[in-house]
Symmetry: C2
Subunit: 405 residues, 2 copies
């Protein structure tokens, strides 16, 4: 079943705001078995919104999800444009206005007159309740397509999708697209693809895509046939082996937290160049408090020596960015926090700070467990933010491969 | 000058990959003075790519930036589709193939046969070099529009834009759109808008947009007239006062690092519920090592007591999520790392872990400096990831307002 997405907002076009809504809607509806046929982003202007709608309607999707421009401010014109487009009159919903005013008062806020346009309702179509905000959504039929209008505030859009739109769309789905994802890290796209190609037969009847990112390469197989999908998945799983950290959508931090909980093991993390990112990623996972006891950000030699307890001589002889320092950091954090694993990262994140001997992007990862200590050296690029992400991914993968299956 | 963006890739539609390229291109070209009139995302399929191009060409933009589908794998069909669309024959560029093979060998990799299609070149149009990857870009003229094809790998796309495309587009710009952004945090969109509206006169002749996010509300003024922009900006600056943390595009962590460097002050951070996010954000800023000495992630009572040194009695009497613990955390981290400021956050990030007395989303932020300690209480929602972001933003803003101007 085909669905299209119309994203409305100057801020999405001029690079002010990331279009995370279209990602979320795409993912949610794809997992439901829909095929997203096209996505268009237009300005908050009547003629653009209409042109976008006209374009999407031509391919006759079952649904068009429209997000953005339902807020209370003057630049929010979606409501009036779409009401006009579908030929609906409007009225003022006094009941909703009163509810809204009361809800605001409960939170100690006197409602603004600007919110009044959020109580304007169409005389045709239906209303989609907003459980957490003031902008309600709307649904209209036009030809054989349903237009679904939702606010652009991600939390509100998501909760309205979950509560009303998804259950409604589910009813119309007959043929479910099945998807299996294999997530790998540490190898380039072409290597992964060739490993997969080697086991492919001509009649696998599935679709295979390769998606590289800073986190690694994801291999995604999709098919409408369970049998085809399962057969191919098994082969791919064997071909890629331990390169796969996740069969499914889970990211590496979720896999690690899950594995450590199962094994009843704990970790602590000492971060220099990643500056807290590894710990941040681990603590994105619910229940991570069961495995992460704590960590230190040691962003100066002082902190490495005085707070973490790395031997001053190691830093002076080998430098803060060295395999010796990485090893000591991992050992020290493990001792200080009394954990099973101690993970560390030290490097030159860039863009400055490099030298002839030690270039920007030089990173060491340390891992201590039992009485072992391992160190891995990485040579990354010159962009700080990307180096932090890459290092965190390598470090988490290093930890993953050390946890017994 | 109008520019449109065509993003190609199933992964962008099915919610697998965030379309960060369109954000980056939008921002880069907007800052150059272009107006992004529309953005379309289509599947890796010939008819979709053509429909997308046809749609964008109708509004006659000066440039269409096309990203994605130039990789070496089978699903990368952009090259052949566009060559056909513009009516160009192709040939095999043996010289480039040899260069590519050598470059791979230098990195110890034998080039894959799949990369061969990256050495296919058109007989018309021109080639855009790729300084860091194997997929080169292309430029074609069609009617009065220039089509610019770039790979979808963000780093490669960005470097090709910077090196070749931006300098080229710059030459065509006559009328520059001027933009001024005011970034605020801690107040809802309607409050910010009403404060601005109060000072607006009818003849300001500028465009004003309000952009709420988890980080606060950004107010963006744009105009082609320097005089109009400056006059209105001055008024908005006065109307919003200290609510503004940044005049321009800088985020709060950049502002803080800059301010602390100027004042020659240092910070340390003790994080519980934010799990490293505050430190991660600060260390995203180049030169943050001049101000951040280090920090601790204290994700367990043990870590708070034994590693950070919060008095056991405080935790037992008031709980780990309390104003007393937040205050002690800020003081302890400041003492341990010998910094001017000590910042802390403790709370219940969710989704679990709440109780009748202490609901999910309850957070305390602590700040210690000189002999003062301040604590701020927040009541946030139930989503872990959003609570972490909101808390980090409040904490950084709390620190910002404490640094003398």
């Amino acid at each position: 079943m085909n669905v299209s997405i119309l994203s409305i907002g100057n801020e999405l076009l001029n690079g002010f705001t990331l279009n995370s809504n279209s990602l979320w809607v795409g993912k949610t509806l794809t997992n439901l078995g829909c095929s997203i046929s096209m996505q268009i982003t237009v300005k908050d202007e009547e003629k653009d919104i209409i042109y976008g709608l006209d374009t999407l309607l031509k391919s006759k999707p079952k649904f068009i999800i429209i997000t953005g421009g339902l807020g209370p401010t003057d630049d929010d014109i979606t409501r009036q444009v779409i009401f006009k487009y579908v030929g609906s009159d409007t009225k003022f919903d006094r009941g909703y206005w009163e509810t809204l005013s009361e809800r605001y008062l409960e939170n100690g806020i006197i409602i603004s007159e600007s919110n009044k346009n959020q109580a304007i309702v169409p005389t045709t179509g239906s209303i989609i309740p907003n459980p957490i905000g003031s902008a309600r959504g709307y649904m209209f039929s036009i030809q054989n397509t349903k237009l679904i209008l939702l606010p652009g505030v991600p939390m509100e859009m998501e909760s309205m999708m979950k509560n009303t739109v998804v259950p409604f769309i589910k009813k119309s789905i007959k043929k479910f697209l099945l998807i299996k994802t294999f997530r790998t890290t540490g190898f380039p796209e072409t290597i992964i693809m060739e490993k997969v190609k080697r086991i492919l037969t001509s009649n696998h009847n599935s679709n295979i895509g390769y998606y590289p990112s800073l986190y690694g390469v994801d291999v995604r197989i999709s098919s409408y046939s369970r049998k085809n999908l399962d057969e191919l998945s098994e082969k791919v799983s064997i071909a890629l082996g331990d390169k796969i950290y996740s069969e499914g959508e889970k990211n590496i931090e979720e896999i690690i937290v899950q594995k450590l909980i199962e094994k009843k093991k704990t970790i602590s993390i000492a971060e220099s160049c990643t500056g807290g990112l590894i710990s941040h990623r681990v603590t994105e996972v619910p229940n991570s408090s069961k495995v992460l006891k704590g960590g230190q950000i040691v962003y100066s030699d002082d902190a490495k020596i005085n707070n973490l307890g790395v031997d001053e001589k190691i830093i002076h002889s080998f430098g803060a960015v060295s395999s010796q320092t990485a090893a000591s950091m991992a050992n020290r954090i493990k001792s200080l926090y009394l954990t099973d694993y101690g993970l560390s990262a030290t490097g030159i994140a860039g863009p400055g700070g490099g030298s002839k001997k030690k270039a920007v992007g030089l990173v060491y990862i340390g891992l201590a467990f039992g009485d072992q200590t391992k160190v891995k050296k990485l040579k990354l690029g010159s962009e700080r933010s990307k180096n932090k992400i890459r290092t965190s991914q390598h470090a988490l993968n290093y930890l993953r491969t050390a946890i017994p299956i």
